[in-house]
């Protein structure tokens, strides 16, 4: 009896698995599913879980990944409002929101859905870019830039079109790259070179002019400092002269003696070093030689 119970249990489990596989299907967290009966739509399952179905070929289950997928359109040429030709590539994130419509419209084929998205994206991109001048894309004035606005406008343009009769929601959109046609890049290079040459000249001129200015200022400052020092030194000397005037009262007692002493002092000071004197007999003390017997001239 015990052996029979185990056997029955085992058989029951195997049978249950078989029946579950035949009559049930799972919808994963990342999926949504459409059930068709003899090819006709029956139901949609968007929540994960285990669901009942009639076995094939009566019912079929079509599963779709409902996560956000990445898609980028080709790098294509377009024109701005001010007639500038731009190359632009836009990417977007999309996901299946209505699997029934998605199945009916594209047969569940992701490539077909993305081809359709590319057409819609091209139309949205050309329409939005055509409403903006180039300065909305690139500008040294950050207030002029409308990078985010352009992306938002493109998303707003494509979103309802993608949702209508496609079962798709475009959840994000961004500019992947912006460029210029090949022939224009040559012109840009030429302009860039010319601008750099101009900058080289500008820097050279600025450097020389600035150096001259700094040096001139330095010379002026030096002269100013020295002149100020001279002025102050003169003032100090003047103050000294004024202070020494008090001594003159002493000399007033006998100006002749004072002058005589000053002369003597000046004489001695001026002939202190490396002096060459030419003297005659009138000069004391050589006046003593006057009237004496003639002597041979003796020098040194």
């Amino acid at each position: 009896m015990k052996r029979n119970t185990l056997t029955l249990l085992t058989g029951g489990v195997v049978l249950l698995i078989f029946v579950a596989m035949l009559f049930g299907y799972q919808v994963r967290k990342t999926e949504s599913a459409v059930v068709t009966t003899f090819g006709k739509y029956s139901s949609t399952r968007s929540e994960p879980g285990l669901y009942f179905r009639l076995p094939w070929p009566i019912q079929s289950v079509h599963r779709f990944d409902n996560r956000t997928r990445n898609f980028a359109k080709k790098y294509e040429q377009t024109t701005t409002r001010d007639g500038r030709i731009l190359m632009i590539e836009v990417y977007l994130g999309w996901r299946v929101t209505d699997p029934r419509i998605f199945l009916e419209r594209f047969g569940g084929d992701l490539d077909r859905a993305e081809s359709n998205l590319e057409i819609l994206l091209r139309a949205a991109q050309n329409s939005v870019v055509g409403q903006h001048p180039l300065s909305d894309f690139i500008s040294t004035n950050a207030d002029e830039l409308k990078f985010d606005d352009i992306e938002t406008e493109m998303l707003a343009a494509i979103k309802p079109r993608a949702a209508a009769n496609s079962g798709i929601e475009v959840v994000l959109l961004g500019i992947k790259q912006i460029g210029l046609p090949e022939s224009i890049t040559t012109k840009v290079f030429e302009r860039m070179k010319a601008e750099r040459e101009q900058l080289v000249k500008q820097f050279q001129g600025e450097g020389a002019a600035e150096a001259i200015r700094i040096r001139s200022e330095a010379d002026y400052e030096r002269d100013k400092i020295l002149a100020e020092a001279e002025r102050r030194a003169t003032v100090i000397k003047g103050q000294a002269d004024a202070a020494s005037a008090a001594a003159l009262k002493t000399f007033e007692q006998d100006p002749e003696l004072a002058v005589f002493l000053l002369k003597l002092n000046a004489l001695e000071q001026s002939l202190k070093e490396r002096a060459t004197l030419i003297l005659d007999t009138k000069t004391p003390p050589f006046d003593l030689l006057k009237g004496q017997p003639e002597l041979p001239a003796k020098t040194r």
């Binding site: 052996r3 195997v14 579950a20 596989m21 799972q26 994963r28 967290k29 285990l50 996560r67 956000t68 980028a72 790098y75 190359m87 990417y91 994130g93 040294t140 961004g174 500019i175 992947k176 790259q177 912006i178 460029g179 090949e182 840009v188 290079f189 302009r191 860039m192 070179k193 750099r196 040459e197 820097f203 050279q204 600025e206 450097g207 600035e210 700094i214 040096r215 330095a218 400052e221 400092i225 020295l226 020092a229 102050r232 030194a233 000397k237 000294a240 001594a247 002493t250 000399f251 007692q253 003696l257 002493l261 070093e273 490396r274 060459t276 030419i278 007999t281 003390p285 003796k298 040194r300």
Partner: protein
């Protein structure tokens, strides 16, 4: 030992006694019984084997639910496709785990420990792995092809190459895995977008040389904002942004840099001259002032000393002025004549005196140099 549930079978009716075995005779065996017994035995054995196999399969089935979450991974268990648990409980940490076997449960492993890297796919020039390894650029062609060469447009309408390498970790495995079919691809395009967004608002000179950090910060901030808005479930790590001038115009940019450096050097030299001249002038001014002070002190002190001398000599002078003058004059002449280097005496009879003087040249002062 008897089974109480299965008491030994008792003969319900009297059976004929077995025939006595005599010499030269064998007991008769019924052929049907033997074959039935063999068949029954074979069936019992087969059934036992099948049961063992089935039990083994059941055990194998149950055992197949054991799985390992490796270090650096977490796992989410899907039961009939639905995540088991709520919030943080949904994440299974590294270690051994058991789940009902497929198709009931299904573990989804997510690598969260390692750092992932994405590199922008737009904005960089065409290159080859060999050139990249040697850090070399392709030769200049005079143009850039939109299909092959990536580049960005800067705010001043110039062209530059830019490349970002973004590192990240998965911070929310549920969001990263279950909301996006390929989060890596979306992040790559977000990084591409950030390169162009940031380039559109900086000048080429800034992004390439003067303020590369500002450009890098703009790119990374844009990526951070987008990642946050899209709820990609990742945490960004320190990343890098490179910029490079197109090879066709790089020399022109380098010349500008050289000119700018030269300008800085010329100005730096001029500032050095200014500092030197100013310091020297301040020193000279100090010397002039000192000299003035010394000179004024000397004037005052000399005059005071002379006045004192005058006062001392005045009584002697007044006593006999002529004698006094002659005495002082003679004494002074003695000192003067003693100190004089050359002395010539001119006798009265010489009418004309011609002197050839040879003087030492004066020392030239060295002028201040600029």
């Amino acid at each position: 030992m008897n089974d109480p549930h299965h008491p030994p079978a008792q003969p319900s009716s009297p059976q004929p006694p077995p025939a006595p075995a005599g010499p030269g005779s064998t007991p008769p065996v019924p052929l049907e019984d033997a074959s039935s017994q063999a068949l029954a035995e074979a069936l019992r054995s087969s059934f036992a084997i099948v049961k063992v196999i089935m039990v083994g399969l059941v055990l194998l089935f149950l055992g197949s639910g054991i799985f390992v979450v490796k270090p650096g991974e977490v796992a989410v268990l899907l039961r009939f496709g639905k995540p088991v648990g709520t919030g943080a409980e949904r994440l299974l940490e590294p270690g051994w785990h058991w789940a009902w076997p497929y198709p009931i449960d299904q573990p989804v492993r997510i690598r969260v420990g390692e750092s992932h890297t994405v590199t922008s796919t737009a904005g960089w020039h065409a290159t080859t792995p060999e050139l990249e390894a040697q850090n070399q650029d392709p030769p200049p062609r005079g143009f850039l092809s939109p299909e092959a060469d990536g580049y960005t447009l800067t705010a001043d309408g110039n062209i530059m190459h830019a490349r970002a390498t973004i590192k990240y970790r998965i911070s929310d495995p549920i969001q990263y895995t279950f909301d996006f079919a390929n989060g890596n691809e979306i992040l790559t395009n977000v990084v591409n977008n950030a390169l162009f967004y940031a380039a559109a608002r900086v000048t080429a000179d800034d992004a390439l040389y003067k303020n590369k950090a500002a450009y890098r910060d703009l790119v990374l901030e844009r990526v951070r904002q987008k990642v946050e808005t899209l709820q990609l479930g990742i945490a960004l790590e320190p990343s890098d942004v490179e910029t490079k001038a197109p090879v066709d115009v790089r020399e022109a940019f380098e010349q500008v840099n050289a000119a700018e450096q030269e300008k800085s050097k010329v100005m730096s030299d001029a500032r050095g001259y200014r500092d030197e001249v100013t310091r020297k002038a301040v020193g000279e001014a100090q010397a002039i002032l000192s000299s003035g002070l010394v000179s004024s002190n000397r004037i005052v002190s000399d005059l005071a000393a002379f006045a004192s001398y005058f006062q001392d000599q005045l009584p002697y002078y007044r006593r006999d002025p002529r004698l006094f003058e002659n005495r002082l004059l003679t004494t002074t002449m003695e000192r003067v004549l003693t100190n004089a280097q050359d002395k010539f005496f001119q006798p009265e009879r010489i009418d004309e005196l011609r002197l050839l003087l040879s003087r030492e040249p004066l020392k030239r002062e060295v002028p201040a140099t600029r």
